[in-house]
């Protein structure tokens, strides 16, 4: 366990990461759809874009955690 996490806990952590990524994906897709619709006001658009950017950054950070844990399933 080079990252200090007991091996026995890694499958559970991977599952949780997967769930977090799924939730982020849903939020990001929803935001993309709202932005695509083009019916949002300028200030709302800025907020939506910032939220989308935050989701993408969080998803990137998650990928880093995945790499630290090793890349075995779940994928």
């Amino acid at each position: 366990m080079p990252h200090g996490i007991p091996d026995a806990q890694i499958p559970d952590i991977r599952r949780l990461l997967h769930d977090v990524n799924d939730e982020l994906s849903i939020a990001a897709l929803q935001l993309e759809m709202m932005l695509e619709a083009g019916s949002v006001e300028a200030h709302s658009r800025d907020s939506l874009e910032e939220s989308l950017e935050a989701c993408r950054k969080a998803a990137d950070a998650l990928k880093q955690v995945w790499i630290l844990l090793g890349t075995r399933s779940p994928t």
């Binding site: 994906s25 849903i26 897709l29 695509e36 993408r56 995945w66 890349t71 399933s73 994928t75």
Partner: protein, 296 residues
């Protein structure tokens, strides 16, 4: 207005993801079936032979997506047009290997961008449609015979192209003087056959107008030792002149064709296939012959 036939099946245990992906595709007029489990998805596939694309999440708590897609490939081996798209949370060697084994069209990473989703699904639908058309032509006795004839002609022409490329290293006149009447007739016959087959077998996506007509005409001219002016080439495409001229520029920019000064009159230029264009046409003809023979 009649709703489009649903040719896509999305599989995900997460209902919200199903709903959102359906909406994304629906906004591009791509209708979808959805399933929350492998068992449901198999039932939908059994009842719906119109399905061309299966888009599935790889990791679902109750379903192993890779195993599910493997079962789809095995159980529906008689539907070789089925295109599989994998959705995954993370790029990994295992995913890439699994995608290759399943002959997946593509895999998408979460969070999925709507544009990537639409493009991947559209591409998969086009591929499926092309395979269906070739198979349906091959299943028909007349279509099958036609395909075999086209394949034979394509093979013979590919051989002509190969010889021309070999002879083409600085000996243009010699190469041209070796052209036989057979080559010209074969080329014309093939062009005619391909013209007929193009829309019925391959569809627009595989041989888009009018660049295909012009490439074929350039090949015919090259094999029979003729020179083609820009105007003659544009006319051969049977498209509006401005469209044809744009396509000629595309072919030149793409390195497939080049403008050459007419040796007899330097004020005039003609267009011909470049060595790259020749090589690509040869590859295309060989590939075409292989596909047609395999389908027949």
């Amino acid at each position: 207005m009649e709703s489009p036939v649903a040719r896509v099946l999305i599989v995900d245990d997460e209902v919200r993801a199903l709903r959102l992906m359906s909406r994304v595709l629906g906004s591009s007029a791509i209708a979808c079936h959805t399933a929350e489990s492998a068992a449901d998805a198999m039932a939908v596939l059994r009842q719906t032979p119109e399905i061309d694309v299966v888009l599935s999440d790889i990791y679902m708590p109750t379903t192993d997506g890779i195993e599910f897609l493997g079962t789809v490939r095995r159980e529906f081996a008689d539907r070789p047009w089925l295109q599989l798209l994998l959705v995954t949370g993370q790029a990994s060697l295992e995913t890439a290997v699994a995608a290759m084994r399943l002959e997946a069209s593509d895999y998408l990473f979460k969070p999925i961008e709507p544009k990537s989703l639409r493009e991947s699904v559209q591409h998969a639908l086009t591929r499926a449609e092309s395979i269906r058309k070739v198979r349906s032509a091959a299943a028909d006795p007349i279509g099958s015979r036609e395909l075999l004839q086209i394949a034979d002609t394509a093979k013979a022409l590919a051989e002509d192209m190969r010889r021309t490329i070999e002879q083409d290293s600085g000996r243009r006149e010699t190469a041209n003087s070796g052209k036989t009447e057979d080559t010209g007739l074969r080329t014309l016959k093939l062009l005619q056959k391909l013209q007929e087959a193009r829309s019925s077998i391959f569809g627009e996506a595989v041989m888009p107008e009018p660049a295909w007509e012009m490439l074929a005409e350039l090949m015919r001219a090259r094999l029979t030792g003729q020179h083609l002016s820009v105007t003659s080439l544009a006319l051969s495409s049977k498209s509006p002149m401005t469209t044809a001229l744009r396509r000629i520029e595309d072919l030149i920019q793409g390195g497939l064709a080049a403008r050459m000064p007419d040796p007899a009159d330097r004020r005039r230029t003609y267009v011909e296939l470049t060595p790259e264009g020749m090589a690509r046409m040869q590859l295309f003809l060989e590939g075409f012959a292989r596909t047609a023979l395999a389908s027949s």
